[in-house]
Symmetry: C2
Subunit: 211 residues, 2 copies
DNA sequence: CCTACCGATCGGTAGG
DNA sequence: CCTACCGATCGGTAGG
């Protein structure tokens, strides 16, 4: 097998087609889960949007739950790694403000995580463990970022990293709810940036995604 | 009809029983909607929990949607009015911190609003209009509270009421998500109070629900 | 308030 | 990858 223009050809041709279909399924599933939640989404509707029968879809993902987890893991791979890798301290927080600005151009992704995180607060939900783990990791990352920022001397006095981390993550989630319910008439990134700026002794960069 | 010990008797007896059953249905529906959302809840399950057949339930609430809206309006009557009436400025914000502390003793109510507000961000959801309206009203109330607090001279300089209101409401929602996903190991009211305190020039009261 | 039923839809499987 | 089917469950109605 060799690659040409990112597509594996010859012996791998069938596999490449399968992988492309897999990506299409993940995209359509992400959109529908975001529109109506996990429970509200049907395999038949997702399959139809991909030009498949629903047993055809189950050939790629054996159960509905496996499709859900694949969607969530796919999003994490694409996003978190890209915007947060190799950063420490204030740069992590700036990266999360930039991620919020980016998400304002991707309503489908905001809907996905807002609808599913609400649904998954219930103990029996198939993504409950995933979200519980995800929040623990995220809060810890943000907490370390605040600790480092404090050590770097850019934080206002009296700011506790643990509480500040919980507040920062809560703000991101709560602003997404308001953004969706106000039909996107809300500057999520601006409001988040204002919150962060008020905790700092130095000005944040202008707000682009530059390091 | 006359009332004895809060229960209407004699000619009103049947009505009182009907109203008691209605309240029982509202309570069980609130619990199940909170556990599994609107879509995940079935009329049969709610009815069974009340000792009814599901057509029996539909005698009290003609459609599933009417039951949902009745549950939401019932909660608003009981809560918002009681804790926020007749307050202005900082007292409104203090009332919301106290409401958060109260909610930490009522997981069912927190689940209800967290699950449903996520579900209802979708445009077609039967409670979408309700939540859109509710957030607009809440944000405006909190914004006016910040404006009044600023006029009263208890706010740190540079705090904009509009952004501060969005932040405050977002924090309440986001902390509820984290609270549920961390199996209630989180001091929601304490973290919210710390956020508010950092914006003030005066100390908040000790944190009881005293005016 | 009940039993009995309607048509629709669900996730998943059989068999090819 | 398909058609055809499974048992289960859904919201709502008929009729009493």
């Amino acid at each position: 097998m060799r690659k040409v223009g990112g597509v594996t050809v010859q012996a791998g041709r069938g596999y490449a087609k399968g992988r492309a279909k897999r990506r299409e399924i993940l995209g359509q599933a992400m959109a529908l889960f975001g529109e109506v939640g996990y429970r509200g989404a049907s395999l038949r509707e997702i399959a139809t949007r991909c030009g498949l029968s629903h047993p055809g879809l189950l050939h790629h993902f054996p159960t509905k739950q496996s499709l859900l987890l694949a969607v969530l893991e796919h999003r994490d791979e694409v996003d978190s790694a890209e915007l947060l890798s190799g950063r420490t301290g204030l740069a992590v927080l700036r990266g999360l403000v930039d991620l919020t600005a980016l998400n304002a151009t991707r309503p489908g992704i905001v809907e996905l995580f807002t609808v599913l995180s609400g649904e998954a607060t219930a103990a029996g939900h198939p993504a409950h463990a995933y979200f519980a783990q995800r929040y623990q990791t995220t809060v810890r990352t943000v907490e370390h970022a605040y600790e480092q920022a404090g050590a770097d001397g850019v934080l206002q006095p009296g700011i506790e990293a643990a509480a500040a981390a919980r507040q920062f993550v809560a703000l991101m989630d709560g602003l997404q709810i308001q953004w969706l319910l106000s039909h996107r008439r809300l500057d999520m990134a601006g409001i988040l940036r204002a919150h962060l700026q008020a905790q700092l002794t130095v000005p944040l960069a202008a707000g682009s995604s530059l390091g």
